[in-house]
Subunit: 238 residues, 2 copies
Amino acid sequence: MKIDVNLVPTSTEVWGYKNKTIVVIDVLRASSTIITALEFGARNIVPVLSPDEAVGLKTRYDSEDVLLGGERGGLKIQGFDLGNSPLEYTNDVVNGKTIVFTTTNGTKAIRSANGAETLLISAYINLAATAKKVVELGNDTLIICAGRQGSFSLEDAACAGTLCATIGRLISIEETDSAKATRMIAASYASPLDVFTASEHGQHLLSLGFKEDLEYAANVNSCDTVPFFIGGHLVLER
Amino acid sequence: MKIDVNLVPTSTEVWGYKNKTIVVIDVLRASSTIITALEFGARNIVPVLSPDEAVGLKTRYDSEDVLLGGERGGLKIQGFDLGNSPLEYTNDVVNGKTIVFTTTNGTKAIRSANGAETLLISAYINLAATAKKVVELGNDTLIICAGRQGSFSLEDAACAGTLCATIGRLISIEETDSAKATRMIAASYASPLDVFTASEHGQHLLSLGFKEDLEYAANVNSCDTVPFFIGGHLVLER
């Protein structure tokens, strides 16, 4: 299996997605939040690009079972039900709900890979489950790091590298330069929390008071579920 | 001093170049070749985007002191005087000459940073000289990795990381996520030759028979010169 990593989302990545598994990582915090919400019983999550699009969609749904979630500048959007902290997405809040979700980087990365046949969401909290699923699917795999406003982010690259290493312990893989580089980055830090503390976005979230989110997102393999993006919705595979 | 690294050239990087030092790295092989040619007495080097542009420019110069150099697919372009092997650019060949030069990635990265006030060329062979010059200039610095056809290349990132580390031994620096990541990548390999052997482009050049080029490009600090891009020409600072 060939493993490639896009260190930043690119506009060309919608090409060549046939027979490929795409994995999107936005470890702080969109992918950690998406995994958590579905693990705690959310019916599905609809990633959208803007708060306006989210509000418009909720109006069209016209149902109490629809919640608005997401962030801008790391903070909950005015009028939204939920922010982008995974700790908000508890069972009593999200069970059975549809969540219309918009974040600065994560939902954009998912939507940019819209043409993918198979798109999974990964973070530290579901690494082993993702690796197992990637191996089951058996296709060449492209990991897309959501990054930060079009730029590289240390935590997504390090998480991608740990995912590469985890897949590489299950089967024989052929890595591109970028996949190798992410493994080197991952191996340079003792723990995900060390990565978060060293990263610009981790520092930003700490300055906003989200220390507990970082600790939660650093819990490797605390979740056993892998969200799939199917027909515009993020769902757990049934 | 703030140090940032673009792991791939981006179309937006011509913005915000005021009071910034830009360093372009295409270690295999354009920047190694440019440094070598100027060290061995070339008058200047004119980076152009295509073989046609190179031929047109030579016709306009209409002088025996103009040579055409560069590669496509790693090999010398038909009708050109020189390829992209630094070993071809000896004193007896290049002394006093203008070299019109086009390569797949390196000259494109240089031209994309055309708006920069201060643009230097770096590779392993002139790392210490580059670091010294960056410190003298004293501006925030952006290192642009030329990469490979728009994608990440291990050898440029590793070289950028060693440059960051070298600058960091001279003065106090503040690194972005990507600068940190390149330092981690660099520290994961015992030598530049190990990086080249692990990299896709290094493997490609080995398959074309350019082993000696790799050995030459791995000679850290064998050159003491730093090319500047001034008025469309690469020259040594006088």
